[in-house]
């Protein structure tokens, strides 16, 4: 068995999730290769080669891969799929976008968002927003997997020295092009990679309170900032802050939910966090049903106290 992990990267560096997918691939067993498809992506390829336990890093470096368009990526991977028993990518906006195209091109069923590896052909995945877990088995010669990064520990990013080998690019499909990207610039860690997340909900009342109360706490803790869908829909913060079924699924060491009631769709996105703290004025709020430590009271008094108390 040989497993191909598709690296998520920005040409200059690997996205942290790639290391989690390598761990999942290791649990399947067999040789693990990483494909880095990009443009001027030598640095990302070097980073991939440093992950211990990788047999080979394959690099497709061409202009048509620079923007990670699904049409071109899928065509490239499909051309090499015959060499692999499994193809795995993060279940992120990146992986979700191209992997199903491979399903079409290879006539193989995809298993989305796996959270556990039972055997080489059997995997566990959440359905109904995590309210049920399905164990599914694939009969296809190549298993196509998207992997929930938060469900697997990250492989070490350093210590390996895999061989880097070029892959010939496929023709540009020429049917789509990237016009622009507006990425949120932040000095804080990414939600998906953060060890601590400070997350706010409707209880904050408005966007100004959200920033003035939560940012000092997040800065002191070196934490990422998240939000409930209610807070996003109310316009307090942009959509990419959203934690939940329809936003990001996270599993940090510490998740601090502030003014979040705990709708099912939010809990689906954070209930696998190691330690959950909830601060809410409503002692009956569902968030307290999953919180390890609950603090009932006025967040406008408690959050500044907490910010002052953490060294």
């Amino acid at each position: 068995m040989t497993i191909l992990v598709i690296a998520e990267h920005d040409n200059a560096s690997l996205k942290a999730a790639t290391c989690n997918i390598v761990t999942a691939a290791g649990q399947i067993g067999g040789e693990v290769h990483i494909l880095v498809a990009g443009h001027n992506c030598a640095e990302a390829a070097k980073a991939a080669a440093k992950i211990p336990g990788i047999a080979k890093v394959r690099v497709a470096d061409a202009p048509q891969y620079g923007d990670q368009l699904a049409e071109n990526l899928a065509a490239l991977i499909a051309a090499h799929a015959g060499e692999y028993s499994h193809i795995a990518a993060p279940a992120s906006a990146f992986g979700k976008n191209f992997m199903p195209r491979l399903s079409a091109l290879l006539d193989a069923a995809q298993i989305s968002d796996i959270i556990a590896v039972e055997s080489a052909d059997t995997f566990v995945r959440p359905i109904y927003a995590g309210n049920a877990l399905a164990t599914v088995q694939s009969p296809d010669p190549v298993k196509l997997l998207t992997v929930r990064a938060a469900a697997f520990d990250a492989a070490p990013a350093d210590g390996g020295s895999a061989a880097i080998e070029p892959v010939a690019p496929e023709a540009d499909q020429g049917v789509s092009k990237l016009i622009g990207r507006e990425l949120t610039v932040s000095a804080r860690p990414e939600l998906g990679a953060a060890k601590i997340i400070v997350s706010g909900g409707r209880g904050l009342g408005n966007g100004e309170n959200f920033h003035s109360l939560l940012e000092p706490l997040a800065d002191k803790l070196g934490a990422a900032l998240g939000a409930s869908r209610a807070a996003v829909d109310a316009g307090y913060v942009p959509n990419d802050y959203q934690v939940g079924q329809t936003g990001k699924v996270v599993a940090p060491q510490l998740y601090i939910a502030i003014g979040i009631s705990g709708a099912i769709q939010h809990l689906a996105g954070m209930k696998d966090s190691k330690v959950i703290v909830a601060i809410n004025k409503d002692s009956e709020a569902p968030i307290f049903g999953v919180a390890d430590y609950g603090l009932v009271g006025d967040l406008f008094e408690l959050v500044p106290q907490l910010t002052a108390a953490v060294a």
Binding site: L69, A70, S92, A93, F94, K96, N97, F98, M99, P100, L102, S103, A104, L105, A108, A109, Q110, I111, S112, D113, P126, Y128, A129, N131, A132, L133, A134, T135, V136, Q137, S138, P139, V175, S176, L178, I179, G180, R181, E182, L183, I196, L221, P238, D240, Q245, K248, L254, V275, I276, F288, G289, V290, A291, D292, Y293, G294, L295, V296, L306, A309
Partner: protein, 249 residues
């Protein structure tokens, strides 16, 4: 321009799902069913493009049991012109649905297919992308803005860390995210009118597609419950517990 809108009938998003005791799946008996919420957004978008004069005809299609007729009627009550039901009792998986839709696309020749980014039952997030690749069409997933001009569609997409805008040559596939629009409610007169709109029924065999499931579901279980913890009295106690008990600070 014709727009095809594939939709799915799923357990209503407000219903708390129950896993069957024998582990064979989720209990669907006597449970409220509705249109997949992401598909409501695609229906709304298609109807708006029709109202704006960009689309000349909108067609909804659903693959599933006879009961999906109800969901198609809902789409027509929102403003879709006519519907197609691909009727089967077989358990449908994304690859099979995409193959059925491909056959419908070949029959109907739409310029644009708009569908939800994922169904809230199996949460696969696959059909739109598979359909695009089966047809050899470009795709824009997770759309939060759609603009059609000339032979192109420009789509703003919600990606990790922000937004991305792509331009696709038509014909193309767009999958919808939550912020694309706010679906309207069907009014009573429109619900009545929808009963008279055409609804055609096709069988998978007539489309030349074998919809048999590929993946085998071995079991479905409830996720492990997270036990609620303790309430702390004040911030000092909280910080002490996080430091000494949980050791996360």
């Amino acid at each position: 321009m014709k727009i095809l809108v594939p939709i799915k009938r799923v357990i209503d998003y407000n219903v708390k799902v129950r896993v069957k005791a024998d582990g064979s799946g989720v209990d669907l008996a006597n449970v409220k069913m509705s249109m997949n919420p992401f598909d409501e957004i695609s229906v709304e978008e298609a109807v708006r493009l029709r109202e704006a004069g960009i689309a000349t005809e909108t067609v909804a299609v659903s693959c599933g049991t006879t009961a999906s007729q109800e969901t198609l009627r809902t789409a027509m009550a929102i403003g879709i012109d006519r519907s197609i039901l691909v009727e089967t009792d077989v358990e449908l998986q994304p690859l099979a649905v995409a193959k059925l839709l491909k056959a419908v696309v070949e029959k109907e020749q739409p310029t644009l297919v708009i569908l939800g980014k994922q169904a809230i039952d199996d949460d696969s997030n696959q059909v739109g992308q598979i359909l695009a690749a089966l047809l050899g069409w470009p795709q824009a997933t997770f759309a939060s803005k759609v603009h059609i001009e000339g032979g192109n569609v420009t789509v703003m997409r919600e990606v990790d860390g922000g937004l991305e805008t792509v331009e696709l040559k038509l014909p193309a596939i767009v999958t919808t995210d939550l912020r694309l629009n706010e679906p309207r409610y069907a009014t009573l007169p429109n619900i009545m009118k929808a009963k008279k709109k055409p609804l055609e029924t096709l069988k998978p065999e007539a489309l030349g597609v074998d919809p048999a499931p590929r993946l085998k579901t071995l079991k479905v279980v409830e996720p492990p419950k997270r036990a609620g913890g303790v309430k702390v009295a004040d911030v000092q106690e909280l910080v002490a517990k996080l430091k000494n008990e949980a050791k996360v600070l």
